[in-house]
Structure formats: structure tokens, C-alpha cells
Amino acid sequence: MKDEVTPMSRVIEARDLNLVFQTADGPVQALKDVNLTINRGDFVSFIGPSGCGKTTFLRCIAALEHPTGGRLTVNGMTPDQARMARAYGYVFQAAGLYPWRTIAGNIRLPLEIMGFSKADQEERVARVLDLVELSGFGKKFPWQLSGGMQQRASIARALAFDADILLMDEPFGALDEIVRDRLNEEVLKLWARTGKTVAFVTHSIPEAVYLSTKIVVMSPRPGRISDVIDSPLPRERPLEIRDSREFIEIAHRVREGLRAGHGDEL
């Protein structure tokens, strides 16, 4: 279905992207010559050890960091323009729900800030709560929900204003394996239903392989892309697919890529 790659379908495009942080210990090359195209509807995972720049790259897309060289476009705009056009929803590692607002109140927050009408707000909150299977929890406060449910609420919050890009920065990193499996399944369902373009940062090889249409393997010092794997797995993925031969082969290639990138450090 991604045979026809037109400029319109290129959602995120990075050309020779560089980012150097000036720190007290001198300059640190966080990203070096990153080239990547993400097409509409892709589910792209970024995997690599700490310091490989995967989160930094995601933050560049979100215009939370600014590259010091190269070109980066989001929906054909600069990242800053895209941010102002509400091109993306961002999910952080921690749910970051405001404890003084109910779940519905938290999801409504970006809508209030963006000036949606009251009726529209209610309608959207109900819709995304349903989407993440939290209907009936709208009136609860965050502390009344489990960690997994809080993270689902934060995904609902990122979906509420209909951005067509979803940026997720290790959203399930703090959750246990069982909850993580369930949420992975749910994210895939969500992705299938909404057709969003997803950029997903993770530490976990199975998570990356299970979720992605494209896996970007990164390596540190300087942060760079060491391998890009287009997954041959079908879009429809039951959890059992993780026992298939193809799955294990891709996971193996990711592991090899990570090892190569690490060089002498392992």
C-alpha cells in the first residue's frame, strides 16, 4: 500500500541532520548526518542504547530541540511550524497527568488550550476515552488509576486533537512486561483504526519488531542511524506472531545492528 511514494506522503523527512549540544565538558554530537524518510501511515520504531540520539531525534521532530545542521521537515513544514499547526501529539515516558485534574479534565487540557468549543471538547474526550478503552474512567483522578491506565489516558490526550502524527518516547518503558504486551496490542489496534503515522522510541527489541513497519537502529557517540529495517511482517499482527520465523529473523538483525553499532564497548 505504500507503493506510490509522492512528496505528499512523506510526513517526516530528515536530510543530513546534525545536532551538537554545547555542554560544560565541550560540544557533544547528539545527532550526526541523520537521513530518514517517514511516510504517511508508517509505524517507525527507534531503537538503540542510551545516548544514541533516538529521543533527541524525536524531540527535533517535535521542535523541542533545534538541529544545528541539515534539514528537517514535518508535513512539508519546519518542525516549529508543524508544532504550531498541531501536527503531532507527543506521549512521554511518564504519563504526566495533572494530579488536580480528572482523567477527562486532563484529556480536555490540550483542547482547552487550543480553543476547541465546549461541545466539541466533550465529544472528543468521550471518543478518545473509548478509543483507549477508558470509558467510564473520565471522572476518576489519576491516582485512582494504575500506571498502565494512566499511560493510556496520556495516549488519549495526545490523540484528542486529531494530529496525524503520534510521537511516543518510550511510553511503556516504566511498565511491567504483561501490561506492556497488552498496551502494545492496543497501540497496534489504535494505529490500524486511526491510520496515524507513529514514531516510537523504545529500548525493547521485541517491542520494536512487534509494532513497526520500519525499525531504525541507532548507535551512540556520535548519535547516528546504523541500520533501517523495513519489516516484512503483515500489518495485522496477533501477539503469537512473535514466535514466527520472520519475527525472530528481524529481531536477530536488530540485535546484530545494535551490537555492530556498539563496537568495542560490548
Binding site: L64, G96, Y98, P99, W100
Partner: protein, 288 residues
């Protein structure tokens, strides 16, 4: 009961110590009096006599209690001899100063959090202001305000109360407004929130626990300020003036009664602030 018992135990201890101290301190006068009259007193006679003197060095609890009760209930609350009336005057100045202190503290905190220049230029002075003894400053404020043609006795007292109470609010609010972490600020940025929205939706609600903690300190400071404002000579109104008169005219019972009335007032004020905090916490979704 579990919470009351420790408090009661300590209270009993204090009362017992107080009685012992009153016997010890008032005994000298009993012996002097007896020597002058040429009679001798036994130990038990001495103890009894220390408990009912007209001008004791340290009045025992029951005398203070009786005097306090008389001051509160023996006359109409509008009478100038009523501790209720004096207490109300002090309360008035405390609340005016408290409100002024909150406005000043919050306003300055916002300016300091949003402007490096204000942070660097004003913050040191705010700290220095608290190192000046208020008893030295209070008479100057009173004289100045009357020179400036302010007839109201309330205004200088409120200014002194505000001077003491703005500082805890300032410190608490700076900490509170700066409490949102980088992730929360980033989140607001991804939604392209304006500076005002950032303030109203994130920083202000985040600061509330710090705000209420500072209010408890500030209300006590405001009361102290109002009372200090009533101390300079010539003042006739308020619990501070009652204390001063009691000590100047050798009526220790008056002084102690006024002192306890002030303590009572402080307790009530702190209780009210505590209740307000509980209400706010409930509204903001806290568990208890």
C-alpha cells in the same frame, strides 16, 4: 482520641510546671509580706497564698483563665474593656495585613519567576527586609503614616503585618511556581500553549501546596505584626495595647489574659487556614 491524648499529656505537663513555677516565683512576695506583718507562714500557707495574689509575678493558670473569661464575657463585646472587642481590632489589622502580604508575596513571586532582572534586583532586598527587627521599624511606620495624613489606626498596623507576612508567601510561591518539571513544560510546548496559559493551567495549580504551606506561616506572622503595631506607647486599641498597658500599670493578670486571647486568636486563624487548605485539596482531587 489517639490524636488528642499526646496533646493532652503535654498540656497537663505544661500546666503542672506552670503551677510549680507560680509557687516558686510568687513565694518571695508572700514571705516579704509576712515578715512585714511580723507573722510566720508555713509551707502550705505559703502555697495557698501564691495562688490568689492580686499582682503575682507569675499568675497561676486558674487566675489567668478566670481573667480571660472575665475579659471575654463580663461585658458587652462592644465595650472597650472587652477582650473580644480588642481581639476584633487586632483581627481586623491582621486580616488586612495578611491580604496585603499575600498580594505582595504572590505578585513579587510571579515577577521574580518570570524576570531574571527582578530576581536579581528585588530578591536580595526581600531577604534583607526580614533581617530588620520589626520592633525598630514599627514606630517609624506608625509615625510616617500619621505624618502622611493617614488617620486610620488600621493602616500602619496592616502595613507592619504585611511586612512580616509577605515573605513566607514570596518564598513559597517562588518555589511553587518553579515546581513544574521539564516534561510538564515540554508537554505544554507541544500544545503551543501561550505564556499566560502556561501560568494559569500549569504553574499556578502546581504552586498551590506551597502556597497553603506558606499561608500558615504568613497568618501567624501577620498576627505578630499586628500586635507589634499596637505596642508603641499611646496605643489603646488591640490585644497588643492591652498587653502593654497590663505591664506598664502593673496589672499582670490583664497582660496574661490579653496574651492568651492572642494565642486563642492565632489558633483560630491557623485552624481556618488549615480548613481552607483541606477544601482546596479536595477540590484539586487529593485523596484525603
Amino acid at each position: 482520641m489517639k490524636r488528642v491524648l499526646p496533646v493532652l499529656t503535654v498540656l497537663c505537663g505544661i500546666v503542672a510546671l506552670w503551677y510549680l513555677a507560680s509557687v516558686w516565683l510568687n513565694a518571695t512576695w508572700v514571705y516579704d509580706q509576712a515578715a512585714r506583718d511580723g507573722r510566720s507562714v508555713t509551707f502550705s500557707q505559703m502555697v495557698v497564698e501564691t495562688q490568689s495574689q492580686e499582682r503575682p509575678l507569675l499568675p497561676p493558670p486558674h487566675q489567668v483563665g478566670a481573667e480571660l473569661w472575665k475579659g471575654l464575657t463580663a461585658q458587652a463585646v462592644t465595650s472597650k474593656r472587652s477582650l473580644v472587642w480588642h481581639g476584633y481590632k487586632t483581627f481586623e489589622a491582621t486580616m488586612a495585613g495578611f491580604a496585603l502580604g499575600i498580594a505582595l508575596g504572590v505578585g513579587l513571586a510571579v515577577a521574580i519567576v518570570y524576570s531574571r532582572t527582578v530576581d536579581r534586583s528585588v530578591m536580595p532586598w526581600a531577604i534583607i527586609s526580614q533581617t530588620v527587627p520589626i520592633v525598630a521599624l514599627a514606630p517609624m511606620i506608625i509615625v510616617l503614616s500619621s505624618k502622611m495624613g493617614i488617620d486610620s489606626k488600621l493602616v500602619p498596623k496592616a502595613i507592619i503585618a504585611a511586612y512580616l507576612s509577605f515573605f513566607p508567601v514570596l518564598v513559597g510561591m517562588i518555589k511553587g511556581l518553579r515546581s513544574p518539571d521539564a516534561m510538564q513544560l515540554d508537554l505544554m510546548r507541544t500544545w503551543n500553549a501561550s505564556g499566560l496559559q502556561n501560568f494559569l493551567v500549569l504553574r499556578l495549580p502546581s504552586s498551590m501546596p506551597y502556597f497553603f504551606a506558606s499561608l500558615k506561616v504568613a497568618i501567624a506572622a501577620a498576627l505578630v505584626g499586628a500586635i507589634v503595631g499596637e505596642l508603641p506607647s499611646g496605643a489603646t486599641v488591640g490585644l497588643g495595647a492591652r498587653m502593654l498597658q497590663g505591664s506598664q500599670y502593673g496589672r499582670p493578670l490583664d497582660m496574661w489574659a490579653a496574651l492568651f486571647a492572642a494565642a486563642l486568636l492565632a489558633g483560630v486563624l491557623i485552624l481556618i487556614v488549615g480548613q481552607l487548605e483541606r477544601l482546596a485539596r479536595k477540590r484539586m482531587g487529593a485523596a484525603g
